[in-house]
Symmetry: C2
Subunit: 196 residues, 2 copies
DNA sequence: GACCATACGGAACGATGTCCCGTTTAGCAA
DNA sequence: TTGCTAAACGGGACATCGTTCCGTATGGTC
């Protein structure tokens, strides 16, 4: 809920011009720093890159999780929307599932440390967990249900468990040439298959 | 190399009696604290539990990884030795592989945070990574080779990659009732199977 | 031009890993 | 037994990081 000012709340007063400018600056700076130093880069680095004080970050984004959410919201939405689309354009529901997981993995492994912080038990990241899960678990559930209904996979694995597993497989995948998260995620999905 | 005094090095002088006593005390204290607070408990807590200063820990165990290794060495050894034994007593190599992975998962999920720190990219844990990998990867390789030779599984997944995947799946498994690392690891292994 | 709520910057605080330095003590020899 | 020295110790010092507080600056408005 840190977009410029879509007035959802009651009597949401418009932000001051400098505040709106700073929020945009911060998002850009955070995105840049995330690329080079990972999502757990020091807050001071982001503030410095944006040319603001550290407190300004916390004023706009109460927790670091809120900042991460704001930075990646567009891509998460795109991933969520790809689910139903894949279900329509793929030969079988299982193929759609495979492709969607591949999208999800690609998203995670290209964001340094995002998978790790997604799994972090650190309190304060609850908002991040909740957002990802709320947005993506229903999509995954639908894909799983479709594949199960078609008799392609077993039906006893909840989507949330599968997604956490895939998320975990992506941890640390970006800097180890001997570790291919995509392949392992593919193995995990393959493990769902029922003998024909 | 933090055992009391097996003199491998050249002219390894024997430790003083109090030093040997403190090392034992530290190991016990660390083991106790690891159980209650996880392997990433503050160093100060361990020192307090042992009734020594923080510097004493670093003197005996240059990095936290060395302390963790020392605490769990016995169990890692047991896991490593179970590999060949399972291969002999199981009906098929694939069954042995399944059982061994199950042992590995059990070991990880019962040690709070061990899987996470095993995957940590934090420098200073290199020794921990190296120890686990050096000790267990050859065992896993042998199991994989045997199963592949029997035509039960595909042969293109390196043991190290599989173990890292399983390790990742175990992250955060101990405190989430909706997450069953054993089941997911089983899925991953099942994904290796070749159609008959 | 003046007012004030809003927003800002940077210092301050608490937690944690790590290192340094002055002090104590185990082991040994006279 | 006594005295010496290297080994070992303890705890405070330092650096880093997340987070909050407070005095100051400024945008929007009358």
């Amino acid at each position: 809920m840190n977009d410029s000012d879509r007035g959802a709340g009651p009597a949401a007063r418009p932000k001051r011009a400098d505040a709106r400018r700073n929020e945009k600056t911060l998002l850009d700076a955070a995105a840049a720093v995330f690329v080079t130093s990972g999502v757990d880069a020091p807050v001071r680095d982001i503030a410095a890159k944006a040319g603001v004080g550290t407190a300004t970050i916390y004023r706009h984004f109460p927790t670091r999780a809120d900042l991460i959410i704001a930075v990646y919201r567009h891509q998460v939405e795109a991933c969520a929307e790809a689910g139903p689309a894949l279900l329509e354009t793929s030969a079988t529901p299982f193929t759609a599932l495979e492709r969607w997981i591949s999208l999800f993995v690609d998203f995670l492994v290209t964001k340094h440390g995002l998978a790790a912080v997604l799994r972090s038990d650190d309190a304060g990241f609850d908002a991040l967990h909740a957002y990802f899960l709320d947005r993506l678990v229903p999509v995954c559930t639908r894909l799983l249900d479709a594949a199960a209904a078609a008799g392609e996979i077993r039906a006893d694995i909840p989507a949330i468990e599968l997604m956490r597993g895939v998320g975990n497989l992506c941890i640390g995948a970006e800097r180890d040439p001997h570790y291919d998260a995509r392949r392992l995620a593919g193995l995990l999905i393959a493990g769902l298959r029922l003998p024909r």
